[in-house]
């Protein structure tokens, strides 16, 4: 506010000037011209200003003006004391209301500022996490190349040793022969195999993390998307399972949304794949995709009557690399992490309700902001 920028000192002078101006004007009209009109109310100006600028301290202004009014009437001007007393009270009342209002405004401004600060902090933290994941996943790759590379070099070196050893073995004692044979035919290949397969696994994990962090900054292409159509095309990819297990699938008509098509396909694809793969083999499978509009957003439900998610697993379902329940389907445990990241990128949120042995319903919201999508692109 401009008023805040004024020095406290200059505020004092402004109030003093206005007060003196008011008093002299009132004196002039009241005493010299004998007209008692609106000019009495000029006193409200310094009262307002004082209360707004100095809050409670500013109440001294109406108090002193009220006293001035009373004293001057009592001793110099005559007139009705009761009227002036009431007017004095009125001054105090106006001052107090101004204080309350200005304090409320100030509080609101402070909160807004705080909120803005939090938003900025949060965005920064978010950016840092993104950067961090990105750097980690890149820099972790470099040493892996060495491990992989030198294990391979070691392999070919030990191949060379092995083939030469065949001819050299007869020169050794029986015990030495046995030790060397075990070392070069069993222990060394085993160790190198373990190193190699661990590095491969590590590489997969890093790639999955990298994909997750890339989802965070991929430029989204917003377009009109028919989720029912997407769901149906994703279901086509799962047709083999659906036909084999005789799964009943219902896809309701859905409102069109503005979203990134690829992201929506990933979301639907992952949720439906989970639903199909984690059905309960003991009862006929049912999957139902519904939606409803709520305000400017659209809420989607993907319901199944599958195995459900146990209470202990519920907290970690969206975490990367976590897989819950009985695992009879291969996967890296990243699907729902990707889904959550994509829903959040669209400014929506995702949750689920689940009962073990009864089924799970995933619910996600996509804000449908037509024409304002550029804001979300960030």
């Amino acid at each position: 506010m401009i008023l805040d920028q004024l020095e406290a000192e200059s505020k004092k002078y402004i109030i003093a000037t206005i007060t003196i101006a008011c008093i002299s004007l009132i004196y002039y009209f009241h005493v010299v011209l004998k007209i008692e009109v609106i000019f009495t109310h000029l006193f409200y100006i310094p009262i307002f200003l004082a209360a707004f600028w100095w809050k409670r301290k500013g109440l001294l202004m109406p108090l002193s003006l009220a006293l001035l009014l009373l004293i001057s009437h009592m001793f110099f001007l005559g007139g009705t004391i009761i009227n002036d007393f009431l007017r004095g009270l009125m001054f105090m009342f106006v001052g107090m209301i101004s204080v309350v209002l200005s304090e409320r405004i100030e509080k609101q401004e402070k909160q807004e500022k705080l909120l803005m600060q939090y938003t900025v902090d949060l965005e920064r933290a978010n950016e840092e996490v993104k950067q961090f994941a990105y750097i980690i996943s890149h820099d972790m790759r470099a040493p892996l190349i060495n491990v992989k590379g030198f294990v391979a070099e070691l392999c070919s070196a030990s191949d060379a040793v092995r083939s030469t050893m065949k001819d050299a073995l007869p020169c050794l004692s029986e015990k030495q022969q046995k030790d060397v044979t075990i070392a070069i035919t069993e222990d060394m290949p085993e160790a190198m195999n373990f190193i190699d397969s661990s590095v491969t696994r590590m590489d997969h994990l890093i790639n999955a993390l990298l994909k997750l962090s890339r989802l965070g900054y991929r430029e989204l292409q917003f377009e009109a998307v028919d989720m029912a159509k997407i769901a149906r095309s994703m279901l086509k990819g799962l047709a083999y399972h659906i036909d084999r297990d005789n799964i009943k699938v219902v896809v309701e008509a859905m409102p069109e949304i503005r979203a990134d098509r690829m992201a929506m396909e990933q979301i639907m694809g992952n949720l439906l794949t989970n639903a199909v793969h984690y059905l309960d083999p003991d009862r006929p499978g049912e999957i139902e995709i519904t939606s409803r509009r709520e305000g400017s957003a659209v809420i989607f439900h993907v319901r199944d009557n599958g195995r459900g998610i146990s209470k202990e697993d519920r907290g970690k379902i969206f975490m990367p690399f976590r897989r819950c329940g009985r695992q009879d389907v291969p996967g890296e445990g990243m699907g729902l992490s990707y889904v959550q990241a994509m829903v959040r990128r669209h400014g929506g949120h995702i949750g689920f309700e689940s009962e073990e042995g009864r089924g799970t319903t995933f619910t996600f919201t996509i804000p449908n902001i037509i024409g304002d999508s550029h804001q979300l692109k960030k």
């Binding site: 890149h138 790759r141 470099a142 892996l144 190349i145 391979a152």
Partner: protein
């Protein structure tokens, strides 16, 4: 056919393991050129501009640079940028050889004027293939001579 032997291959790579693996695999496809290894961007620029440790005068042979991106002290982008900004080094072919294949980084490198971008695969078979192919490719490349200033 082998790339003219007087061409020096400069490997700018902070990871000594990577540098060694690159060198090994280049040798496998009969690249017999002199190979210089620099551990960071600073050292590479010193070599290129004959400053710091190389102020007594480096080699005068034509160069070809294999450049890593993520390096301490001075990263690959900076090296590339400074090479392309200087008349003495502008024409030296630069091959980016890095762990990243992030599209933003790839396009940034080409924008800065790199000649080729190669990703180091983690899988060693692919890594050897990539480097060996690069070696075969290098053997038919012609490199401009050192600028005479």
């Amino acid at each position: 056919m082998v790339m003219k032997d007087e061409v020096t291959i400069m490997i700018v790579e902070d990871d000594p393991g990577h540098a060694r693996l690159i060198e090994k695999n280049l040798k496998r496809v009969n690249i017999t050129n002199e190979i210089v290894t620099c551990a960071d961007g600073r050292q590479a620029l010193d070599y290129l501009f004959g400053e710091g440790d190389y102020s007594k005068g480096g080699s005068n042979a034509p160069l070809l640079v294999l450049l890593d991106l993520n390096m301490p002290v001075l990263d690959g982008y900076e090296v590339l940028k400074r090479m392309k900004a200087d008349d003495r080094t502008r024409r030296i072919p630069v091959i980016i050889l890095t762990t990243t294949d992030d599209t933003r980084e790839v396009s940034r490198c080409y924008e800065l004027g790199c000649n080729i971008y190669i990703k180091k695969p983690v899988e060693y078979k692919e890594f050897t293939d990539a480097i060996c192919n690069l070696g075969l490719f290098l053997s038919v490349v012609t490199v401009p001579g050192k600028e005479q200033l």
